[in-house]
Amino acid sequence: MTAEAAGIPAASPLVAPPVDRTARRAALEEAILPAVVALLVAAIVGDVLILSFGQSPGVVYRLLLEGTWGNAYGFGQVLYKATTLTFTGLAVAIGLRAGLFNIGAESQLAAGGFVAALVGLLLPSGMPALLTLPLYLIAAGAGGGIVGGIPGVLKAKFGAHEVITTIMLNFIVLALLNYLTAAHLKVEGSLHTAEVRAGALPRLSSYVAPFHGSAANVVLFIAVLAAIVTWWFLFRTRRGFELRAVGLQPQAAEYGGIDVGNVWWRTMVLSGALAGIGGLNFVLGYKHYYEDAFASGAGFLGIAVAIVGRNNPIGVVLAALVFATISQGGLAVNAVVPKQMVDVLQAVVIIAVAASVPEVRRMLRKIR
């Protein structure tokens, strides 16, 4: 595994990393240690919580692991949840790389899923997935991209702070989608649309039988691809070079001939599009319909994923797996301890990482 793949925010991304072994190890430790320490802290806090419920930590942790990575169904569910989180994590991470704090991944995710479902309902049923997939990607990307682009343009043209505008758009967009679904598109007695019959995306269980019952589907591969492409874009292309320059020192970027406003709105479109494509996972990979409020926090959790993944696309994938495991594990241990305990654990991970990562401190300063 190269230093990059381990989730290191590259100091030297353009050209081959320094050959100096010790420097490389120090960089690796700096990237990995906070996450490891955070997980350890979470485990200790978890021990105390579990003991307070009169249970044995060993038993509960074994249950948690068996229910997630221990069997094909559980693992499939982890992969399914990690897929959405990868997209929202990438969305937040790419924004942060440009110095933008996108809190709107929640509504961008929903909008992406919604537009993809609309397109799906219009397509003739039975169209093969190979033909529909590009259309779905464009539709979901456009849905999320528009919702993300509005705050981007508002910032570039009027200086409106994206934290405020993305939060407000969350309310507006989610309410709008709720209205459209409930008033016009719902199947009687539900809060979801009719089933999309065109080009259903296959589940993993159709290739690997033991995954049977889990929601994991081929959008998983799109997520991995998206992470790789995002990494390539950020660290290998000219536009990525300019995007990160804007995030690090907007004044120097401006001096370097980079139109900072353009980078802002384009990044927000990209960020929204990434979150929007995440909507495919639920809408076309799992349920085959749009259901109101399906995002249920995956957009907000993307902020935590990006931070724990240190805004590095590969780190985001790993962090998405961690949070997906915790979330799925909560269901597995529900019999012995309340599921809310797992929510507490998740919060502990976020706080521990947030406290240990220098980028977060810098980011918080920026927001103030």
């Binding site: 050209v15 290998r236 401006e254 001096y255 370097g256």
Partner: protein, 522 residues
């Protein structure tokens, strides 16, 4: 007028030395200020004025020397002790809480309470009393966020006085003020002098020194080089004391390698100018006119130096030429092309290079590597398809590192890790190591060691000799005189004169820089 023979001076610093690593900020600096006088501490940037005053206010401990306040030995005291003894410093950058009211800010750290509650009413009463007594007019219940810069500064001063300061140190208080606000400040300072308070004013603006001070101490390169009575001196004398010997030194230093006559006048007049600026008007950040109708031309093979006290529009002029600040009126031409509406990138493609004034904020991305910084602004020329061409970027870096002696010689190092001089060499290498016609060089050697200055000056001359047009802005008169073929002076946003190098001396430039020459002419 204070009497310098008075038995106990309010402040007496003797042979103070203070170093930061290899930089000797103060070397045997001495200062004596009589009670009840306004004393100006003047010198160029980096002369050690602020350091000396921070030593006095207890922020730094001197390595050697003796400090006395009102006759008491206070060598190496702490800030708390300094405040208790009535020595207060108002910093250049305000330290106020914008969401709190004026009264709350003033009492911060010494909150008045009534039971468990803050006694706001009493705080406001006390602040308005102090405000009336000193003439520092500001309403105590207003929020600091709503105040103008001048008002915020009054709050800073009030805060210091509220803590019982009788000796007040002001660090470049006018840097952020508009002219009417400056007049207001002088009024307040005079009133405080009448009340018997002692004031030390740090500044590098000579007109301020003449306007307000009783006595003057001049610093240069960490030393105190002169003590003057304002009534018995002229701005020219002060300027000479500030830079005089330096100019000689720099001139001697460059004489060896410089051709006898910088340029032949004939070449300048025959060749068509590469940079043409007509009637340029530019606003500053506060939307006040900063550049007021500047017209200038720079011919190929010519360095036009712009001298002037900082804050007279030079920064805004260069930013406007570089495309970083909107032009309100006037035109900018590179060769025959009108580039007034061009973006930064388009100007770069049209042949403009720019060494910015502030390398850490503008010139470099500190977390990017040396190699990456060496292509900043040129990144669109180092691509292969969508990709940045890592190999070419690296080759370019190796070449520039060699050509400009950037140390350490590691293209992968983050720019942050390099010394100030080597950071500046990255900027110079990038801007001068590519094809360009016109170079804007702002403070190209500020904060750079002697070796790097030599290299940078040699490069600028070589570019001039190669037929480039160079506009040099520097606060360092010695640098201007050492490099320029013609010298312009900016004062109050106007280019008040342009002189041939032969007609420019420290004395003549100093008179234009302080506006004195303009008044003579009027």
């Amino acid at each position: 007028m204070a009497d310098s023979n008075s038995p106990t001076p309010a402040i007496r610093l003797t042979d103070i030395s203070k170093s930061f690593g290899p930089v000797r900020a103060n070397r045997d600096a001495s200062l004596e200020v009589a009670p009840g006088e306004i004393h100006a501490l003047v010198g160029e940037n980096g002369a050690g004025k602020s350091t000396l005053m921070r030593v006095l206010s207890g922020m730094y401990t001197p390595e050697s020397g003796r400090m006395e306040v009102n006759g008491r030995d206070v060598t190496g005291w702490s800030t708390a002790e300094a405040i208790d003894a009535g020595v207060g410093m108002v910093h250049q950058h305000f330290m106020l809480v914008p969401t709190l009211s004026v009264a709350e800010n003033v009492m911060l750290g010494r909150e008045l309470t009534k039971g468990l509650q803050l006694d706001r009413a009493r705080a406001e009463r006390e602040v308005s009393e102090l405000s009336r007594a000193t003439g520092l007019a500001v309403r105590p219940e207003r929020k600091v966020a709503d105040l103008s810069v001048g008002e915020a500064q009054r709050v800073e001063i009030l805060k210091t006085l509220y803590r019982g300061a009788r000796i007040l140190i002001l660090d470049e208080p006018t840097a952020v003020l508009s002219p009417p606000e400056i007049d207001e400040l002088w009024h307040v300072l005079r009133r405080m002098r009448e009340r018997g308070e002692t004031i030390v004013l740090i500044t590098h603006k000579l007109d301020e020194v003449m306007a307000i001070s009783d006595t003057i101490t001049v610093m240069r390169h960490g030393r105190t080089v002169g003590r003057l009575h304002t009534a018995e001196t002229t701005p020219g004398d002060i300027a000479k004391a500030m830079v005089g010997r330096d100019v000689q030194l720099a001139m001697d230093y460059v004489a060896g390698e410089m051709p006898a006559a910088p340029t032949t006048g004939a070449l300048v007049s025959v060749a068509e100018p590469l940079l043409v600026v007509r009637d340029l008007v530019v606003n500053d950040v506060r939307r006040l006119t900063a550049v007021d109708g500047v017209t200038l031309t720079v011919a190929p093979g010519e360095i036009l130096g712009i001298a002037g006290v900082e804050g007279n529009g030079q920064t805004e002029l260069l930013e406007a030429l570089a495309g970083l600040r909107a032009v309100r009126a006037g035109t900018i031409q590179i060769g025959r092309r009108d580039v007034t509406r061009f973006s930064v990138k388009e100007r770069g493609d049209a042949g403009l290079s720019h060494i910015p004034e502030d390398r850490q904020a503008r010139g470099l991305i500190l977390d990017y590597t040396v190699a990456e910084n060496l292509v900043l602004g040129q990144q669109h020329r180092f691509t292969r398809g969508l990709h940045l061409d890592g190999q070419r970027i690296l080759d370019n870096a190796r070449r520039q590192i060699d050509a400009f002696d950037i140390r350490p010689r590691d293209p992968h190092l983050a720019a942050r890790a390099l010394s100030g001089g080597n950071q500046q060499k990255i900027v110079i290498a990038r801007e001068m190591g590519r094809a360009f016609q016109v170079l804007l060089a702002a403070q190209p050697t500020r904060g750079v060691d002697v070796g790097a200055i030599e290299l940078i000056h040699a490069r600028l001359r070589a570019a001039r000799d190669a037929g480039k047009a160079i506009l040099l802005v520097s606060a360092d008169l010695a640098e201007i005189l050492a490099l320029s073929d013609r010298v312009g002076v900016m004062y109050g946003g106007k280019l008040v004169t342009t002189l041939a190098r032969a007609d420019a001396s420290t004395e003549t430039l100093g008179r234009y820089m302080t506006g004195a020459a303009a008044e003579d002419a009027a």
